[in-house]
């Protein structure tokens, strides 16, 4: 389950946010603190999570302290399902 969430998130980030569909994003790679996803795109990620997994991430949680890689984000999603 968690791997499916990670794969789905990685695909979304590569295709829709970075617009580099072939880019591989590994599960434990830093995505916020590294600057890979800029602040303007954090909203897109939150909306995607909400629409895809029916789980809400509050705007005050959109920071590297709450999650900074796909493993952590997937765990957050799983914990709220």
């Amino acid at each position: 389950m968690s791997n499916e969430i990670i794969a789905s998130l990685a695909k979304f980030i590569a295709e829709k946010i970075l617009k580099q569909p072939s880019k591989v994003i590994s599960a434990d790679e830093a995505i916020i603190s590294s600057g890979l996803i800029d602040s303007f795109s954090l909203m897109d990620l939150a909306l995607f999570v909400e629409d895809t997994f029916n789980v809400r991430i509050e705007d005050t949680e959109l920071n590297a302290e709450t999650f900074d890689n796909l493993t952590q984000l997937a765990a957050l999603i799983a914990s709220r399902k």
């Binding site: 880019k23 600057g35 800029d38 602040s39 303007f40 909203m43 939150a46 909306l47 005050t60 959109l62």
Partner: protein, 578 residues
């Protein structure tokens, strides 16, 4: 003639209980500051600056985040007669070593006496200091004097003359930080008076709502100096909170019955695309009388998107307005009349591209829509000139030049930059050049804006840029900064990189493209170099790159003098995309 401290003192004496600023932080209750709170807080910093021996006229750099400290440290410097300049705070996106290098470079040109920051950030600031530089004090927010009743007679800011420099404004990046726009008290107050009249400001009914950062001219002047000095209440949220939850802007306008907001073009698209209806329940936007699009090229499609989304919540179409502004004129140069919607000029695309003329559309031929930036402010003159600085007729595209009584005094400690931007133009149509009363070195000179545009029916249409500047989300980015960063990446030919912006309709702003020549012709290696460029440039400039293209030798077009021809390279890139 008054100065900034005089206005603060009057507000303190006449309306001490009036709300000046409502500070918002996500997840916390709002903090309301009256003029009494503002002056008391500022006075603590003034006393601190005096204790540290900082003299009037010396520069104080403020490295603080959205919040009370920043506000008090700023106005405290004004009351002390020192010159404050707000520097962006380090974000997680930017590499600390790059931030440090930019700060060191800023210090070497601006020569501040002091830097104000948080105790947690002291080590970072000190690491940017070098032996023999101008900085004598790093003042920490934990070392500020206690609150006392201000003794206006002893405050040195009251000795300032209207022609003295009041504030310094920098734009972003290595290049921007080296060009501080120095503004006198008189220039600031002349701008506020002229602009206040133009937008019919009313301290009894207007409320400004803003998320704009204070280190940028639109946030700094329109949404900080203007409201505080002219007694318009300001509801101020952090840009970091807004970008994660743009609906907060609408909720704040609704809650406080906000009337005025300034936004860069991308924000219209951002709000229209990313706000969910569930965050707008009960929101009423009917109080919003002007939302002024400024600081990047205006696109009428962005206004349309915004109106479509928010008209159901009471937004009036007439609220969508435009402005053309620059720090060199303190802020606004032109403003659309607020009693209608900005004019849209539909012109023939071909004639515009090939003859640089804005002529009516021809049936069956492609046309383009230009949005008016409105009329010049009552104190500002605008002309459009050719490369030899001769006036052009209406509807001819040329460089926009402007003159006013609120122009910059100079680029601080940069006589070279001042001289190249300010030119004496022949008198215009028998109208004598305005006496420049701002105390500026710019006497009778016209400021060449580096922007292209044309005049039609007395209104200005801004159509492009002569200077190589990319504007991303309202933020000025100098391509040369990005190119030199890309050149630092191993495998890239030094000096063989080019950066430019491309307008993205979906986002409503420019996106950055970087092209770099590499030794390797292997696609996998080129991809690895592209990834490395992306990472390095973003970490060093806090700018996200949309396209990074690594190319073989001799792809990049240079001019005969060996300079990178950015527009020619952009055209080549676009041809190869299609």
């Amino acid at each position: 003639m008054t100065t900034l401290p005089n206005l603060l003192q009057r507000s303190y004496q006449e309306v001490p209980d009036k709300t000046s600023i409502i500070l918002q932080h996500a997840g916390q209750p709002d903090t309301s500051l009256t003029y009494r709170d503002l002056i008391h807080g500022a006075n603590r910093f003034t006393l601190t600056y005096a204790r540290e021996g900082i003299k009037p006229g010396e520069v104080i750099i403020l490295i603080l985040q959205h919040g009370e400290d920043l506000i008090y440290a700023f106005w405290g410097a004004i009351l002390h007669g020192a010159i404050p300049s707000i520097m962006p705070f380090l974000t997680e996106k930017l590499a600390p070593e790059k931030y440090r290098a930019d700060l060191t470079s800023l210090i070497s040109i601006t020569k501040p006496t002091a830097i104000v920051t948080y105790p947690e950030f002291e080590a970072e600031v000190r690491s940017a200091l070098v032996e023999g530089d101008s900085v004598r004090h790093v003042i920490l927010t934990s070392q500020i004097e206690a609150k006392t009743e201000p003794d206006f007679n002893s405050l040195q800011g009251f000795n300032a003359s209207p022609k003295d420099i009041a504030v310094l404004q920098h734009s972003s990046g290595t290049t921007g930080l080296q060009k501080g726009v120095a503004l006198s008290h008189r220039a600031v107050l002349n701008q506020l008076e002229a602009y206040g009249k133009t937008i019919r400001l009313d301290p009894a009914s207007d409320i400004i709502v803003s998320w704009l950062p204070l280190y940028h001219d639109m946030g700094f002047i329109a949404c900080f100096l203007l409201p505080v000095l002219l007694r318009i209440p300001l509801v101020n949220m952090s840009p970091f909170d807004w970008v994660r939850a743009p609906y907060r802007l609408m909720q704040s306008v609704s809650q406080y019955k906000g009337t005025l907001t300034w936004l860069p073009n991308f924000a219209y698209n951002f709000c229209a695309h990313k706000i969910r209806e569930r965050n707008l329940e009960g929101v009423n936007l009917s109080s919003w009388r002007a939302i002024i699009n400024c600081s990047e090229p205006v696109h009428v499609e962005s206004h349309d998107l915004f109106f479509e989304k928010f008209s159901a919540y009471g937004l009036a179409k007439s609220a969508l307005q435009t402005c053309y502004a620059m720090a060199e004129n303190v802020f606004a140069v032109t403003q659309s009349p607020l009693d209608g919607i900005p004019a849209v000029d539909e012109i023939d695309r071909e004639t515009f591209m090939t003859q640089r003329l804005a002529t009516p559309p021809i049936a069956g031929q492609p046309s383009m829509k230009m949005t008016s930036s409105g009329h010049p402010l009552p104190n500002t003159k605008v002309r459009v000139v050719d490369a030899d600085l001769n006036d052009l007729p209406n509807r001819s595209v040329g460089e926009i030049a402007m003159q006013s009584d609120c122009m910059l005094t100079e680029y601080f400690n940069r006589p070279d930059a001042t001289e190249s931007a300010i030119k004496n133009l022949p008198a215009q149509g028998g109208v004598p050049a305005a006496e420049d009363g701002s105390g500026s070195v710019v006497k009778n000179g016209w400021y060449l804006t580096g922007d292209y545009g044309y005049i039609a029916d007395g209104e200005l249409y801004v159509s492009g840029r002569k200077k190589d500047l990319i504007i991303v989300g309202g933020k000025n980015v100098y391509p040369q900064d990005l190119e030199s960063l890309a050149s630092e990446v191993p495998g890239v030919h030094a000096g063989r990189t080019v950066a430019f912006g491309m307008y993205d309709e979906e986002e409503g702003t420019e996106e950055v493209v970087i092209i770099a020549e590499a030794d390797s012709k292997d696609p996998a290696e080129q991809q690895a170099i592209a990834d490395a460029i992306r990472k390095h440039v973003t970490k060093s400039s806090a700018i996200a790159l949309r396209h990074v293209k690594v190319v073989d030798d001799k792809w990049i077009i240079k001019t005969s003098s060996g300079k990178t021809a950015r527009s020619a390279n952009k055209e080549k890139f676009i041809r190869e995309l299609s």
